[in-house]
Every structure is written in structure tokens, then in C-alpha cells.
């Protein structure tokens, strides 16, 4: 029942997309924290050394320098792992970048449990909660490599602070090459009238598989890709709640403060219906990414179960 999809690395896509933009965006500079090979900014480092600055694993300074460059007309792309890029310099992101409303782009890879074997300290499961709490930030969690290209280009051409969340592991490609990403506009990937599944990141692919399973049981699920968590497409969330009467959120992130919280907030304020959440319940452990996805319940079966539960709760 699980669809076979091509796999692609969003972090590699990020590094290649930066290179594509080098000529059209002469103000782009890239800042790294000694993880450039892992986040694929080494491609840029080696080609444009005069537009690249390394700061070592010193993330407070990394973000602080990025803020200073942004305040002087540069478009700094600041990259490291999500745990180091959001957690460590959170105060610099808050005071300098958000309160200063600066045009800095924070692109972090190795988010979530897809980071795998490095274990719980390396699993950025709180990044969305933290970064969504900063008023000035636009937050994008692409579903796949195709969407990553366009999200990165959109961030470069859109004024203001951005956070873009990418993975370590290669993830399934759910978009055709002619897909057009629209910032802040959720994408309905499958129509359905019984329940709406709002998913982000790798959980979009998982939710599409869940919808296939549900269809086999006669339940038609709408699947909506919430690539932009902030500002979120409230209209799409309200429409899903109103038109299908039950909703599910699915994210590879801690249940507190991520997509589930956002969906529940919008639904509760506008169109109260049953809400079920598929998300991480706490810290995980060292293992292969696909093993962790199963152990943590981020599978098509679990999304399907949540959808059935939401449908059953309809009045």
C-alpha cells in the first residue's frame, strides 16, 4: 500500500540551490559553523570563498555576525544543524534578528528524528516550537527536495527573517518538477471529504500513504501540505475543518508548539471539530532513521488510525 517514491536529500538540494542563486543574488553570503560538508554549504565555500565565512561551532557569534551583515544589505544564509542553529543562539535570533527584523536566512538541516544514529541530543524536535515563537520569522518546512529548491529561492527574494527546516536523511519526493510553491499558501495534495490531514515535512509523504490506506477502507481523506508554518494558511485549515468535520495533524516534531499546536489553535478559534495529532511524544534514541520513525509512531498506519479516531469523534 505504501507508494514507491524517488528519494532525494533536501540538504544536498539546499547546497546546489545556493550555487544557482550566486549570480542572480550578488548580496548572498553564506555563513557556516564547521558543519559545512554536512549541510552542503561546502559547495559554496569552495566556489565563492570571498562570500563565505566560517565561525566554527560558535553559534551565538554565527548568528550575531549574520545579523550585522543583514543590517548592511547582505542576504546571509546561515546554516548548521537545527539543534545548534536554533537552540544555541536562540537569544541572538530573538534580540538581533527578530526584534531587529533583519533579512537573515537561517537554514538548518538535521531536524527531527531523521537525524538517526547520533541520538537524542542531535534530534531537533523542538526547533519549530522555538522559532515559531519569534514574531518576525517566516517558517518553512518543505515536504521534499522539489519544494526545498523553491522555498530557498523564495527566502532569498523575500525580505525578512526566515527559518527553513531540512533533514539529514533523504526523503521521498512527492512533487512533480512543475510544482509551484506559494509561500503561506497551503497545498491540497489530495481531495477528500471525510477528514483532513494537515502534514508538514516528511510527514506529507507518510500522510499520502495513510490516505491510500483510508481510501481502501472507504474513508476519503484530504491531505494538505502545510509547508509554511508561519504565517500559516488559516483559510486552508478552517476550510478543511468545515468541509470534512475532523482533522489530523502530522509532523516529525515534538507535539508541543509545532504544527499540531498551530492547527488546534486555528481550528479552536474558528471552526471547532475533533483534532487528532501525530507527533513525537518526547526524546528518542540512537538508531536508523526508518527504525525511529516506526518506534515513534510516525507511520502511515498511525496516521490512518488517528484519522479514523478523528472521524469517529464527529458528532
Amino acid at each position: 500500500m505504501v507508494a514507491q517514491r524517488k528519494m532525494a536529500s533536501t540538504r544536498q538540494t539546499y547546497g546546489e540551490t545556493l550555487l544557482d542563486m550566486a549570480d542572480s543574488f550578488p548580496d548572498i553570503v553564506v555563513l557556516g559553523g564547521d558543519l559545512n560538508v554536512s549541510v552542503f554549504t561546502h559547495l559554496w565555500r569552495d566556489k565563492y570563498p570571498e562570500r563565505f565565512f566560517d565561525f566554527g561551532p560558535a553559534e551565538q557569534n554565527l548568528v550575531g555576525v549574520g545579523a550585522g551583515l543583514a543590517a548592511n544589505g547582505k542576504i546571509p544564509f546561515v546554516s548548521t544543524f537545527s539543534v545548534f542553529g536554533v537552540g544555541r543562539p536562540f537569544d541572538q535570533l530573538r534580540v538581533l534578528v527578530s526584534q531587529g527584523n533583519l533579512n537573515m536566512k537561517l537554514v538548518c538541516t538535521h531536524a527531527g528524528i531523521l537525524t538517526g544514529e547520533d541520538g537524542m541530543s542531535a534530534h531537533g524536535i523542538e526547533d519549530l516550537s522555538l522559532i515559531c515563537s519569534l514574531p518576525a520569522f517566516t517558517v518553512v518546512s518543505p515536504a521534499d527536495s522539489v519544494e526545498t529548491v523553491q522555498a530557498i529561492k523564495t527566502a532569498a527574494s523575500t525580505e525578512g527573517p526566515f527559518y527553513i527546516r531540512l533533514s539529514r536523511a533523504a526523503t521521498p519526493v512527492v512533487h512533480e518538477e512543475d510544482y509551484r510553491f506559494q509561500l503561506g499558501k497551503a497545498e491540497v495534495m489530495r481531495e477528500g471529504s471525510d477528514v483532513t490531514i494537515f502534514a508538514t515535512g516528511v510527514m506529507v509523504s507518510v500522510s499520502l500513504d495513510a490516505a491510500d490506506m483510508l481510501a481502501a477502507q472507504g474513508v476519503e481523506a484530504r491531505v494538505v501540505n502545510i509547508h509554511t508554518l508561519k504565517p500559516v494558511d488559516e483559510e486552508a485549515i478552517v476550510a478543511g475543518a468545515r468541509e470534512t468535520g475532523a482533522v489530523v495533524s502530522a509532523e516529525e516534531h515534538y507535539f508541543h508548539g509545532g504544527l499540531g499546536s498551530i492547527v488546534a489553535q486555528v481550528v479552536g478559534q474558528n471552526q471547532p471539530v475533533p483534532v487528532e495529532m501525530v507527533a513525537l511524544q518526547g526524546y528518542s534514541e540512537s538508531a536508523r532513521a526508518e527504525e525511529l520513525m516506526v518506534k515513534c509512531g510516525l507511520t502511515p498506519e498511525k496516521v490512518k488510525d488517528a484519522a479514523l479516531k478523528a472521524v469517529a469523534r464527529k458528532k
Binding site: 553570503v29 570571498e50 562570500r51 565565512f53 565561525f55 566554527g56 560558535a58 551565538q60 557569534n61 548568528v63 550575531g64 555576525v65 549574520g66 545579523a67 550585522g68 551583515l69 543583514a70 543590517a71 548592511n72 544589505g73 547582505k74 546571509p76 537569544d91 541572538q92 530573538r94 534580540v95 538581533l96 526584534q99 531587529g100
Partner: protein
């Protein structure tokens, strides 16, 4: 355009004129904080001659065009010492002196801690340790744009407890930011107590030198000495430069001088009167 390096600089202030200005601006600081009922007098009074040197003899800038691309940048990293900064910015022409009375008031452009909503302020502040990194970003932007502006960052000595200061120090030397000058307002008092009681900083000169910086030390209230030191920073710039400016917290008001109690509290009515009399 004002400033010692500006080709079309207007009036060049003499040292006696700057000394008279310092006395006036000390009164502005006391009045600003008294009117607001809160604020940080100690560090505002200790930093004043450093700021006066920069804004009236050293830096080039244009208050009519705060975003002028070729301006020298000044970053107040110790953002709580904003009353001293605002007094200088106002005198330099960035906003009317009357606006000092709106400090910390609703709908004011001059915030408790310096924020870029105030004309002439480059960076949001209020969390210590960030200004040197931000200043390094400005300095690298100058290099990328082929511009020759200087970047000055004023740090508190207590602020040097922050790890980010040393991350920034290490990286500024690594990236050869020769257009970056940090000034440490070495008044030896931080929020709670004397710096020696909270966290040992000495030998502070050696710390900076070991991080790859050129180090100057000066009396931070002696205007001729300060001006001479800033002049020296312009010669043979092959590394980032730090000036350790030895100052007196609360300088100019006898009962505030060297008194940790006036790091962050406003004078009461009696203290206000007494301070103004001393500064008359």
C-alpha cells in the same frame, strides 16, 4: 556631515569645547533618567567621553541621512547605557533634545535599551554579548562592498563575562577585521557588584592580545588621551583593535562614582537636585 575623518567636516571641536559638552550631556543623562524614573546612570556616565570622542572628533556620519552607506558604524553593545548614547545622538543632530524626556515612555522612539527605531542606532540591544558579533558583521560587509568605513563597538567590562564576546574576538582576528575597533568601558562595576567580586577579568589586556587583537589602554575620561588613542588605532591596521578605557562608574556625580548601587537605578528627587548642583 560631522566627524574628524570627514572631508567636509564642519566645526572641529576643541578639547575645552568637548569638556564643556561632557558636563552638559551629564546633566542630560541625569535628567533623562530622573524624568523616566528608571534607567542606568552609572554606565551612561562612565562611557560619555568615549562617545563624545567618537561622535565629535573621530567618526564620519550624517545625522540627516542616518543610513548613509559610507558612514562609520557605532554599535552600543552595552545597550542599557542608552541614556548616555541618546544624549550624544541628540547633540549630534539625530533627534531633538526635547525627545530625551520621552525616554522609556509610551510611544517614544527612545527605548529602555537602544533599538534601531531611534535614528542613529544600528542594533537592537539589551541582552549582553551580542554587539561585537554584530559589529564584525558590519565590518565584513564593508569588505564585501569595497568600502572603507570603520566599525566601533562599545562593550561593558561586565559584559566580557559573556562567551559570545570571545567567540567574536577569536573570529574577528581570524577574518582579519582590521576596520573593527572595540572599546571596553572598564569601570570595574557590573550589575550586582564590583567586577573583581563577580568574575575576574584581569589580565584583560592579555586576553585580547592572545585572541589576536591589538590592545591600547587609556584613561577613558581624559579627552586628549582618548583622542590620541583613537588616532593611534588608524595607524598600521593589520589586526582588529581594542581600547581598554579605564573609567569611573557614575563619573561626575560624587555619590554615584564607584557606587554599584547606581548601575541601574534612577536618582530620587534629592539626589537629582544634588547631582545637578554638582554638574552645574
Amino acid at each position: 556631515m560631522i566627524g574628524g575623518r570627514a572631508p567636509t567636516a564642519g566645526h572641529t571641536y576643541s578639547v575645552p569645547e568637548l569638556q564643556a559638552m561632557a558636563k552638559e550631556l551629564r546633566r542630560d543623562i541625569i535628567q533623562t533618567i530622573y524624568t523616566a524614573g528608571s534607567g542606568h546612570p552609572g554606565g551612561s556616565l562612565s562611557e560619555l567621553e568615549i562617545l563624545i570622542s567618537l561622535y565629535f572628533r573621530v567618526m564620519r556620519y550624517d545625522p540627516e541621512n542616518p543610513g548613509w552607506a559610507d558612514r562609520d558604524r557605532f554599535i552600543l553593545s552595552k545597550g542599557h547605557a542608552s541614556p548616555g548614547f541618546y544624549a550624544v545622538l541628540s547633540r549630534a543632530g539625530y533627534f531633538p533634545r526635547e525627545e530625551l524626556a520621552t525616554y522609556r515612555q509610551l510611544n517614544s522612539r527612545i527605548q529602555g535599551h537602544a533599538h534601531p527605531m531611534t535614528p542613529g542606532v544600528e542594533m537592537n540591544s539589551g541582552s549582553l554579548g551580542m554587539g561585537l558579533s554584530f559589529a564584525l558583521g558590519c565590518a565584513l560587509a564593508a569588505r564585501l562592498d569595497g568600502k572603507d568605513y570603520m566599525v566601533y563597538a562599545l562593550l561593558g567590562d561586565g559584559e566580557c563575562d559573556e562567551g559570545e564576546i570571545w567567540e567574536a574576538a577569536m573570529s574577528a582576528a581570524h577574518h582579519k577585521a582590521t576596520n573593527l575597533v572595540a572599546i571596553v568601558d572598564r569601570n570595574r562595576i557590573q550589575n550586582d557588584r564590583f567586577t573583581d567580586d563577580v568574575m575576574t577579568l584581569d589580565p584583560l589586556d592579555r586576553k585580547w592580545r592572545d585572541f589576536g587583537w591589538r590592545v591600547f589602554e587609556t584613561d577613558g575620561h581624559d579627552l586628549p588621551a582618548l583622542l590620541d588613542t583613537f588616532e593611534k588605532t588608524q595607524r598600521r591596521r593589520t589586526r582588529p583593535t581594542v581600547i581598554i578605557a579605564h573609567t569611573v562608574k557614575g563619573k561626575g556625580v560624587s555619590f554615584m562614582e564607584n557606587n554599584p548601587g547606581f548601575h541601574g537605578r534612577a536618582p530620587n528627587a534629592d539626589e537629582y537636585q544634588k547631582a545637578l548642583e554638582e554638574l552645574a
